[in-house]
């Protein structure tokens, strides 16, 4: 039988099938962080259950961490307690933790790939919906709730129904200045926020084949924003080259053997999907969102649609935008470049390339937050830090930061923020804040101009 990439990886991890019920799926790697793990540790403790495979768990502190003065004790008592709990729980259970300040610390979906923890053909989970990021490697990776975190602690397995399959194919040549973020925002704008619910999505076509691993991670990261539990891209030479030599990647002969196996994973010709969508790369332009879910996106040159629907109108009222309005020249006081979607080295290269020789707009407060300590170091090494500083921008320390505003990096009430993150929900970046999702290029241009500009004019 012809199999998809997803089928191949899934089927290789089924421990047992329950009649008329779910399957027991084996999990290779379990990533944890401070926010969604304490209650799971608590549950195990309460029931007297040990952690079954501590060696297959890796922990980092990211959601609830400050992005300044990380060498000092965390000021917020609740956050500090949560971080201390994580340290205690990891120590007690023999789990590797890259805590605040560690050279490998970072956002869970940035640090795990760069350490070679993420590898093709694996199953990976984390108590975070953007775990879909790791699908960029041809990995089945998805977010889970805390009860499931406890299940994986207890058994290294989950009870799951096999999801349906969906394929999004984008072929053609992307226009200048159209980044992976624009591709995924375009796809979500076309398909809506629940087209993928109940499905695992494979991204196919030359557009994804030609993308870097960083770009593929940006795309897979936002699969959950169209409802799909995960997204995957077939592993190829780009993938193998990225994994090779990383700290936890297989070495020598073992690596060669793994590559031989990974090469068998791509979807067979003639395999069928439950749902398929095709898009032309030429139709994609730099994108921005105007509403309060990631499906409410338009090309930067387009006007806000004129739908008549109560939820749509509620959303526009929250954003203080009008139907039919253009967002070009909209004044913007806040810019955030960061999050598990766009905080990798490539994202900062794009931003630096645009910013070089220009000055930050005086009305703008900008937070540039690298995804990990390693990204932060790379920024310094490549001289990007100087570019940012000369233009008037400060780099912060790694973490999830203003993406979900659990720490002090909050956008004030009523303010707009052009953000490279993944969600523009009401209050996501702080109570009353208004988020406009965009690529690192559009974010950088906004930070220089102090308003949204038609970036396509500068590119063509």
């Amino acid at each position: 039988m012809k199999k998809t990439l997803f089928d191949k990886v899934w089927d290789a991890h089924v421990v047992k099938e329950i009649q008329n019920g779910p399957q027991i799926l084996y999990i290779d790697k379990h990533l944890i962080h401070e926010v969604t793990s304490p209650q799971a540790f608590g549950e195990l403790e309460q029931r007297g259950i040990p952690v079954f495979r501590p060696d297959q768990i890796v922990a980092t502190a990211d959601h609830n961490t400050p992005t300044e003065n990380q060498h000092l004790p965390v000021k917020d008592a609740l956050s500090r307690n949560q971080l201390e709990q994580l340290t205690k729980n990891c120590q007690k259970n023999g789990i590797t933790l890259y805590e605040l300040g560690h050279k490998y610390n970072g956002i869970v979906h940035v640090m795990a790939p760069e350490l070679g923890i993420t590898q093709p053909g694996m199953t990976m989970v984390c108590g975070d919906s953007h775990t879909s990021t790791h699908g960029a490697f041809g990995t089945i990776a998805f977010g889970i709730g805390t009860s499931q975190v406890a299940q994986v602690f207890a058994s290294q397995c989950l009870l799951l129904q096999k999801p349906k399959s969906l394929r999004v194919t984008v072929n053609g040549k992307l226009k200048a200045g159209v980044l992976p973020k624009d591709v995924i925002l375009y796809v979500i704008a076309k398909l809506g926020t629940n087209a993928g619910t109940g499905y695992f999505c494979e991204y196919a076509g030359n557009v994804f084949e030609e993308m870097s691993m960083e770009g593929r991670m940006t795309v897979c990261n936002m699969s959950i924003e169209m409802g799909a539990r995960g997204g995957m891209i077939a592993p190829d030479e780009t993938t193998f080259e990225y994994v090779k030599g990383r700290k936890f990647a297989p070495k020598g002969k073992e690596f060669e053997e793994k590559v031989a196996y990974w090469k068998t994973l791509p979807t067979d010709d003639g395999a069928t999907f439950d749902k398929e969508y095709h898009f032309d790369a030429e139709d994609i332009e730099p994108m921005i969102t105007y509403g309060t879910n990631p499906g409410m996106g338009i090309k930067i040159t387009e006007n806000i649609p004129t739908d008549n629907n109560a939820s749509f109108e509620k959303s526009l009222a929250y954003m203080n935008f009008e139907k039919g309005q253009s967002l070009i020249d909209q004044k913007i006081n806040y810019v955030f470049i960061g999050s598990c979607t766009n905080s990798r080295i490539e994202d900062f290269r794009v931003a630096a390339d645009y910013i070089k020789g220009k000055k930050k707009a005086t009305n703008v407060t900008a937070w540039f937050v690298p995804g990990s300590q390693q990204v932060a170091q790379q920024i310094v090494k490549e001289g990007l830090k100087e570019v940012f500083e000369e233009a008037g921008f400060q780099l912060r320390q790694p973490g999830c930061s203003a993406c979900l505003a659990m720490n002090d990096d909050k956008i004030p009430e009523g303010e707009y923020c052009v953000s490279t993150s993944n969600r523009n929900f009401e209050g996501r970046q702080g109570q009353g804040s208004r988020t406009i999702l965009a690529s690192p290029l559009v974010a950088a241009a906004t930070a220089i101009e102090g308003k949204i500009i038609d970036i396509t004019k500068q590119l063509n």
């Binding site: 019920g21 926010v35 949560q82 775990t131 207890a154 926020t193 619910t197 929900f425």
Partner: protein
Amino acid sequence: MDKFIKLRSSAIPLSIENVDTDQIIPARFLKATSRDGFGENLFRDWRYHKDGTPNTEFVMNNNSYSGSILVAGDNFGCGSSREHAAWAIHDYGFKVVVSSFFADIFKGNSLNNGVLPVQVTPAFLEELFTEIKKDANTPIEVDLEAQKITIIANGSSSDFEINPYKKTCMINGYDDIDFLMSNTAVIEEFEKERV
């Protein structure tokens, strides 16, 4: 986990689509290390103004509505995987959430916490909203065994789907950990064979 077999209650109508988990429980309340007390901050930024006073326009602050069933618009629970959303709904006192569509992770989290997600057709959802608007106290019955939801006043009912395994878990109050741990031998065997 609480058992769920059958429930008859009035409902609170939340006729908003795409209610995301950041609205159900904003991230700033995720700093706790226990599962308790999240109900207090359920729909926090819709229920309260920034100064802490209740927003009287929000349906949960309208005293005519009460009950342990939440009837919500399409695509309920989208967004983050935070189980805190299900804990908040449970802690507030809801036993059932009815919608025409649920996000995956939220649905799973609810089932793992004894909150039953009942997915109905858009037409039946509309009828529910209409009937609740007509009479805020209108009783609604949710029968898990029969997989049926009924508006008692007019007898209108709808069937709903649930995975048979999850149904057994809900009716008996079982959770997945017990089941998985009873399979440890098979899991260890699987690990050996893969090497």
